[in-house]
C-alpha cells in the first residue's frame, strides 16, 4: 500500500513552508524526468508488473523449435515453408526470419527466429502454431523470445518459498455492524467518488470516504458488498476495510474495459478488447479470470471478438457482457459461455471444461443459470424453416442431463426470467401470428422445484398486448407485467399460487392506464415501484401488492434510474448525466415519502452497497415477522429520540440564527442612526429619512356620478 498524501497534509505542509497554495499553479510544475522526490507514485509498482509491450525490444520475436534439420540444399525450401505458415498470421519484418546454420556441418540447427511488426502478431503466432504438426516427427514448439530469456534465468535449484508470517486482515464486513443498521452507497459525480451512509433518520447522508479520481471509468460493488472495485487503465483494483477504504488487491489487465464478479465474489472476470493491427480484422479480446483474494490469474481467454460474440444476445454490436455467466449460488462452482452451437461449461476446481467438452446444442441462441442451483436454461430457435421446433430446455450440471424440455412453434424470440430463489422460470415467448406479419406474446412458466417440473402456459387476456416489462417478486411467488400500448399501458400482477389450487397461476389484479415502463420490486418483495422513466419524465407509483393498493404517487422529474437499498427500506431515484440538468438523487422511504434530495452536477453512478444474505433460517425470519411489534419497540423509541433531538437541534439552530440576525439588525440601526445627519447633508438638508417606513393611509373618495331627481308619488 503506497502512502497516500491527503490534501490536508499538503495544506499543512504549505502552511509550514509559508507558501500560499492558491498562488501555486500545480499544473505548471514539471518534474525532471525520473525524479520523484522520494514520493512513491500510486501506480509506480503496478507499472513495474506490467508486461510492457516492448519489453527489451524483443516482444515481437518468436522462436520456432523442432524444425527439421536440413542441409544447405534444402535450406531455401524449408524457409519457404516456414515463411508461408507464418506470414498467414502477420506481417514478418524484412529480414525478420533467421534460421541459424551450424558452421561445421552446414546444416540448420532445427530452430529459427521470426520477427513480426507487432508483439500482438507474435503472441498470436505463438498461440496458433505452438504444437503445429509439420509432419509426424516435427511438432513445432513456439515460444516468445523474451520468455526463453526469462526461463533461462530461473535458478536450477529449487528454493522453498518463504512463508510470510500471517498478518491478520481487517474486518471487511465491519459496515454490517453499524449500530444504526444503516446502509452504504457509493456515488460518482464529476471527478469525485464518495461512499456515504444513508442516514434516513437525520435526512441526510454521512460521508464515509471520499476520493478524487478514484477510478478511471466506473466503480462496482462485489455481489456481497465486501469490495468496491475500481477500473483503471492498467487494470482493476478492489478496495475495502473496517473503517475506511484501502486497496486490498490489484488485477493487472491493460486497458480493461469491463469487469464482473462471480456471485460468491471469489473470482473476478476482466475484459478488454484491442484494436487489431490490420483494420480488416476483428478486435482482439482478452479475458482474465482472477482469484479475488490472491490476485492470481486462474485462467485467461484470448481470441477475436467474433468468437465471443456468438449467440442471440450478442448481436452485431459486439460481445455481450458478461461473456461468462456464473452458476447460481455462492459456491462459484461453474461458469459457462455460449459459442457457436455449443455451451461451454467450466468448473472452477481446475478451470477446465466439464468432461473436457462443451455441450452441443444446435443453433443455441441464449442461456441462463438458475440463480441458486446448477441448472442451465437454454433456448434454441426453430431450424429448417419450422420443420424442427424451437425449444427451451433445462440442463443439470455437471451431469449434463436434460431435466425438462419444451418445444415451441412459430417463435420469433424468447427471453428467460428466473425467480430469485430459482423456484420458477418464466419464458417470455414472442410468436408470429398466422400471417407472420406481427407477433404476440405468451409466457411458459416452469415450476422448477416441483416433481417433473410442470409447465404452464399463460396468455394475457388481450393476446395482442405488447409486453413492456416483466419482473418476479424477489423470493416470492408473484410477478408483475406491464403490457399494452405505450402512452398508458396496464400493469397486471399474477401469483403462482392461487387460494385453493397451489399448482395454478392466477391473476391478482390489473391496474389500468399507468404511466409506467419499468418495474422495481423491493428486495423484500411485497412492495413495487411502477416507474415511468425516460419518456414519462420520472413518474413513480409506490404500490403495495399484498393489499393491492397504491401507497403514494410521486414524481422525480427526468429520473433515469431507480435502485432499492438491499433491505428494502429505502429507494433511490436518480438523474444521471445522460441529462444535462437536474443531476442528483432523491431518497424515498419504501412507501413513497421523500426523505431528502441531493443535487450533484455530472452525476454518473449511484450504487447501494449490497448485503450478504441473512443467516437467519426461514423459520426464524417468520418468527421475527410475527413478533415484529416486540422487536420494533426498541427501534421506535430510538426513532423518537432522534426526532426529538432533531427538532430540539432545529429549534436551537433557528433561535441562534434569529439572534444572530437580530444582532446585525441592531448594529445596522445604530449605524444608520449615527449617520443620519451626514446623510441629510448629502441630500442638502432634506430631513425625511423615512424611506423604509410606509404608512398605508385609507383615503375615502366620494365621487358624484349622477344626480337625478324623481317625483315619487306618495300614497
Amino acid at each position: 500500500m503506497a502512502e497516500v498524501v491527503s490534501m490536508d497534509e499538503i495544506r499543512a505542509t504549505a502552511a509550514r513552508l509559508d507558501i500560499d497554495l492558491s498562488s501555486v499553479d500545480l499544473d505548471s510544475i514539471r518534474l525532471p524526468p525520473g525524479e520523484d522526490f522520494g514520493v512513491i507514485s500510486d501506480d509506480e509498482d503496478l507499472k513495474g508488473e506490467d508486461p510492457l509491450e516492448f519489453e527489451a525490444g524483443f516482444g515481437n520475436i518468436i522462436v520456432v523449435d523442432n524444425l527439421p534439420v536440413v542441409p544447405k540444399e534444402k535450406f531455401d525450401k524449408l524457409e519457404g515453408v516456414i515463411r508461408k505458415i507464418y506470414s498467414q498470421i502477420g506481417v514478418i519484418k524484412e529480414d525478420g526470419l533467421w534460421m541459424p546454420v551450424d558452421p561445421e556441418t552446414q546444416k540448420t540447427q532445427g530452430y529459427c527466429f521470426i520477427e513480426y511488426n507487432t508483439p500482438q502478431e507474435a503472441e498470436l503466432a505463438k498461440e496458433k502454431t505452438n504444437g503445429y504438426k509439420l509432419d509426424r516427427s516435427h511438432i513445432f514448439a513456439v515460444n516468445m523470445f523474451d520468455d526463453i530469456e526469462k526461463f533461462m534465468k530461473v535458478p536450477d535449484e529449487w528454493a522453498p518459498p518463504e512463508t510470510k508470517p500471517y498478518a491478520p486482515g481487517e474486518n471487511l464486513q465491519k459496515w454490517l455492524t453499524d449500530e444504526k443498521a444503516r446502509d452504504q452507497f457509493v456515488i460518482r459525480a464529476g471527478s469525485d467518488t464518495e461512499v456515504l451512509w444513508n442516514d434516513a433518520r437525520q435526512s441526510k447522508p454521512e460521508l464515509v470516504y471520499k476520493r478524487s479520481f478514484w477510478t478511471e471509468s466506473f466503480v462496482q460493488w462485489s455481489p456481497l458488498g465486501t469490495y468496491l472495485a475500481t477500473v483503471h487503465r492498467q487494470g482493476a483494483a478492489v478496495w475495502g476495510g473496517a473503517t475506511t477504504f484501502n486497496r486490498l488487491m490489484r488485477y493487472a489487465h491493460p486497458q480493461v474495459k469491463l469487469i464482473d464478479f462471480s456471485p460468491g465474489e471469489k473470482f473476478l472476470v476482466t475484459y478488454s478488447s484491442h484494436e487489431p493491427s490490420n483494420p480488416r480484422d476483428t478486435h482482439r479480446v482478452v479475458i482474465n479470470i482472477f482469484d479475488v483474494r490472491t490476485g492470481k490469474v486462474m485462467r485467461d481467454f484470448k481470441g477475436s471478438a467474433d468468437e465471443f460474440a456468438i449467440g442471440g444476445t450478442g448481436g452485431v454490436s459486439g460481445v455481450s457482457w458478461p461473456v461468462f455467466r456464473w452458476s447460481g449460488g455462492r459456491d462459484d462452482k461453474y461458469f459457462a459461455r455460449i459459442g457457436k452451437n455449443v455451451i461451454s461449461v467450466y468448473e472452477t476446481e481446475t478451470f477446465t471444461l466439464i468432461d473436457k467438452k462443451s455441450i452441443k446444442v444446435e443453433n443455441v441462441m441464449d442461456f441462463s443459470w438458475s440463480p441458486t442451483d446448477p441448472i442451465l436454461a437454454l433456448f434454441a430457435p426453430e431450424l429448417g424453416g419450422g420443420n424442427q421446433p424451437a425449444r427451451v430446455s433445462l440442463v443439470q450440471i455437471p451431469s449434463k442431463e436434460e431435466l425438462r424440455q419444451k418445444n415451441l412453434f412459430s417463435v420469433s424470440d424468447c427471453k428467460m426470467y428466473w425467480q430469485s430463489n430459482g423456484d420458477y422460470l418464466a419464458v417470455k415467448v414472442d410468436r408470429y401470428t398466422k400471417t407472420k406479419k406481427s407477433t404476440y406474446t405468451g409466457f411458459e412458466l416452469f415450476r422448477i422445484k416441483e416433481r417433473d417440473i410442470p409447465i404452464e402456459v399463460l396468455e394475457l387476456e388481450n393476446k395482442n398486448d405488447k409486453i413492456i416489462s416483466f419482473a418476479w417478486e424477489p423470493k416470492g411467488h408473484r410477478f408483475a407485467v406491464i403490457h399494452g400500448d405505450s402512452p398508458r399501458p396496464d400493469v397486471s400482477f399474477y401469483s403462482m399460487r392461487s387460494g385453493t389450487n397451489t399448482g395454478r397461476v392466477s391473476k391478482l389484479s390489473t391496474i389500468r392506464g399507468k404511466q409506467a415502463n419499468a418495474l422495481y420490486w423491493s428486495p423484500g418483495g411485497r412492495f413495487i415501484i411502477l416507474a415511468g422513466l425516460k419518456g414519462f419524465n420520472g413518474q413513480l407509483e409506490f404500490y403495495n401488492v399484498d393489499e393491492l393498493e397504491t401507497m403514494a404517487t410521486a414524481e422525480h422529474f427526468m429520473a433515469t434510474d431507480v435502485e432499492w437499498d438491499p433491505t428494502g427500506r429505502y429507494v433511490v431515484t436518480s438523474v444521471t448525466s445522460v441529462h444535462e440538468m437536474e443531476n442528483g438523487f432523491n431518497v424515498w422511504s419504501f412507501n413513497g415519502k421523500l426523505l431528502y434530495r441531493i443535487m450533484k452536477d455530472h452525476f454518473f453512478q449511484f450504487l447501494w452497497r449490497p448485503r450478504p444474505p441473512s443467516f437467519l433460517s426461514p423459520e426464524k425470519e417468520e418468527e421475527i415477522a410475527k413478533n415484529l411489534k416486540k422487536y420494533s419497540k426498541k427501534y421506535e423509541a430510538e426513532d423518537q429520540d432522534v426526532s426529538l433531538q432533531l427538532s430540539e437541534q432545529d429549534r436551537e439552530k433557528r433561535k441562534m440564527l434569529k439572534d444572530e440576525w437580530e444582532r446585525w439588525v441592531n448594529e445596522w440601526k445604530r449605524l444608520h442612526e449615527e449617520q443620519k445627519l451626514e446623510r441629510q447633508m448629502l441630500r442638502d438638508g432634506e430631513a425625511s429619512d423615512e424611506e423604509e417606513e410606509y404608512e398605508a393611509k385609507e383615503v375615502e373618495v366620494e365621487e358624484l356620478l349622477d344626480v337625478s331627481e324623481e317625483v315619487i308619488s306618495f300614497d
Binding site: S22, N537, F557, M558, E580, M581, E582, M599, R654, L657, K658, W661, W664, W668, L671, H672, Q675, E678, R679, L682, R683, D684, E691, E692, Y694, A696
Partner: protein, 326 residues
C-alpha cells in the same frame, strides 16, 4: 392575485426599478426603449426613446424627476422622467452596463464593459442640478478587475462603491481616492460570475446573485458574508423584501441550454427564501424563459419580474403571503 402581464418590450428584459414612492416601475430591455409603467395596475405610461442599443440598467432619482440609463450603444443618458426628453448623454468608448445614483443624487456611478482591447471601468460622474450645467467629465475612474463588471452600486454615505462581475469577486472601492478597500475572499465568495447585486433599503447589507447557483448576503460596511441561499439554477436576478425577511432569486437555465422537452425543465421560477433561516418558502412560476430582472415595490406588497421572454409580470401579494410561518 393573478399577476399582471405587461407586454411592452420586444426583447428580453434586463432590469427593473421602482421609484421611491413605489408608484412607478421602470423597465429596461434589449430593445432600445426603457419604459415606465404604473406600478399599481401595469398601465404603460411612456417610453424613453433615444438609445441605439440594448439598455442594461437604469436608476431613478429620489424625487422621481431624473432617470439615468446605461446602454450597449456606448452611452448613458439622463432623462426627464415626466416628459421623456433627453437631458444629457455621457459617451464612452465601450458599452455602459450598470448605473446607480448616489445618496443625494449629485453623483452617479456608471460601469463600462471590456471592449476592443479596453478593460472594464467604473466611472463616477457629477450630476448637475440644472441639466444645462451638466458636463461629461468623470470625477474618478476606477479600473482593475478583469472581465465585465455586472453591477456597481454606492456604499454607505457615498464613501464607497461596491462592484461585482464576471470574475466572481465582490470589491469595495473608496469612491474618492479610487483605492480598492476590500475584496471578498475565495472561500466565502462566489465561484462563478456575479450577475446581480441589490442593496437593502437602508443600505446596510446587500445581496448578490451568481451563476454558481447561489445568492449571498453581505454586510455593506465590512463585507462580511452573512447568509448563503442555495438554489438549483443559475441566479440572474435577486431582490429583497423591504417589509418581511424574504429574499427572492430569479434565474433559470441559460436560454441557449433550455431543453425543448418540458417547460418544467428550465425552472423559470422566482424563488422565495427566508432571509434568516435560508430556507426555501415557495416559488412563483409564469415566465417561459429565464428571469433576468427582479424588483420589489418599496411598500413590500408587490414585486415584478422581467424575463428573457420579454414580459414583465407584476405580482400583488395575496393576504396569505404576509402570514407565512416557517
Amino acid at each position: 392575485m393573478r399577476p399582471i402581464l405587461m407586454k411592452g418590450h420586444e426583447r428580453p428584459l434586463t432590469f427593473l426599478k421602482y421609484n421611491r414612492d413605489g408608484d412607478l416601475l421602470f423597465s429596461c430591455a434589449k430593445d432600445h426603449t426603457p419604459t415606465v409603467w404604473f406600478a399599481d395596475n401595469g398601465e404603460r405610461l411612456g417610453t424613453y426613446r433615444g438609445h441605439n442599443g440594448a439598455v442594461w440598467s437604469c436608476d431613478v432619482s429620489r424625487d422621481s424627476t431624473r432617470l439615468i440609463t446605461g446602454s450597449a450603444d456606448q452611452s448613458a443618458k439622463l432623462w426627464d422622467v415626466q416628459t421623456g426628453s433627453q437631458l444629457f448623454t455621457f459617451n464612452f468608448d465601450s458599452p455602459a452596463r450598470s448605473v446607480d445614483f448616489a445618496v443625494g443624487d449629485k453623483l452617479a456611478v456608471i460601469t463600462t464593459d471590456p471592449f476592443m482591447g479596453l478593460t472594464s471601468a467604473i466611472h463616477i460622474k457629477r450630476i448637475a442640478r440644472d441639466p444645462s450645467d451638466q458636463t461629461g467629465e468623470s470625477v474618478a475612474i476606477l479600473k482593475g478587475p478583469q472581465g465585465r463588471i455586472n453591477r456597481a452600486v454606492w456604499g454607505s454615505l457615498n464613501k464607497t462603491i461596491i462592484s461585482g462581475g464576471e470574475d466572481a469577486v465582490i470589491r469595495i472601492w473608496d469612491s474618492e481616492t479610487g483605492k480598492l478597500l476590500k475584496e471578498s475572499d475565495k472561500e466565502d465568495g462566489h465561484k462563478k460570475p456575479i450577475t446581480s447585486l441589490t442593496k437593502s433599503t437602508d443600505g446596510s447589507h446587500f445581496l448578490t446573485g451568481s451563476l454558481d447557483k447561489s445568492a449571498k448576503l453581505w454586510d455593506t460596511r465590512t463585507l462580511t458574508l452573512i447568509k448563503t441561499y442555495v438554489t438549483e439554477r443559475p441566479v440572474n436576478a435577486v431582490t429583497m423584501s423591504p417589509l418581511l425577511d424574504h429574499v427572492v432569486l430569479g434565474g433559470g437555465q441559460d436560454a441557449s441550454a433550455v431543453t425543448t422537452t418540458d417547460h418544467r425543465a428550465g425552472k423559470f421560477e422566482a424563488k422565495f427564501y427566508d432571509k434568516i433561516l435560508q430556507e426555501e418558502i415557495g416559488g412563483v412560476k409564469g415566465h417561459f424563459g429565464p428571469i433576468n430582472a427582479l424588483a420589489f415595490n418599496p411598500d413590500g406588497k408587490s414585486f415584478s419580474s422581467g424575463g428573457e421572454d420579454g414580459y414583465v409580470r407584476l405580482h400583488h401579494f395575496d393576504p396569505d403571503y404576509f402570514n407565512i410561518k416557517l
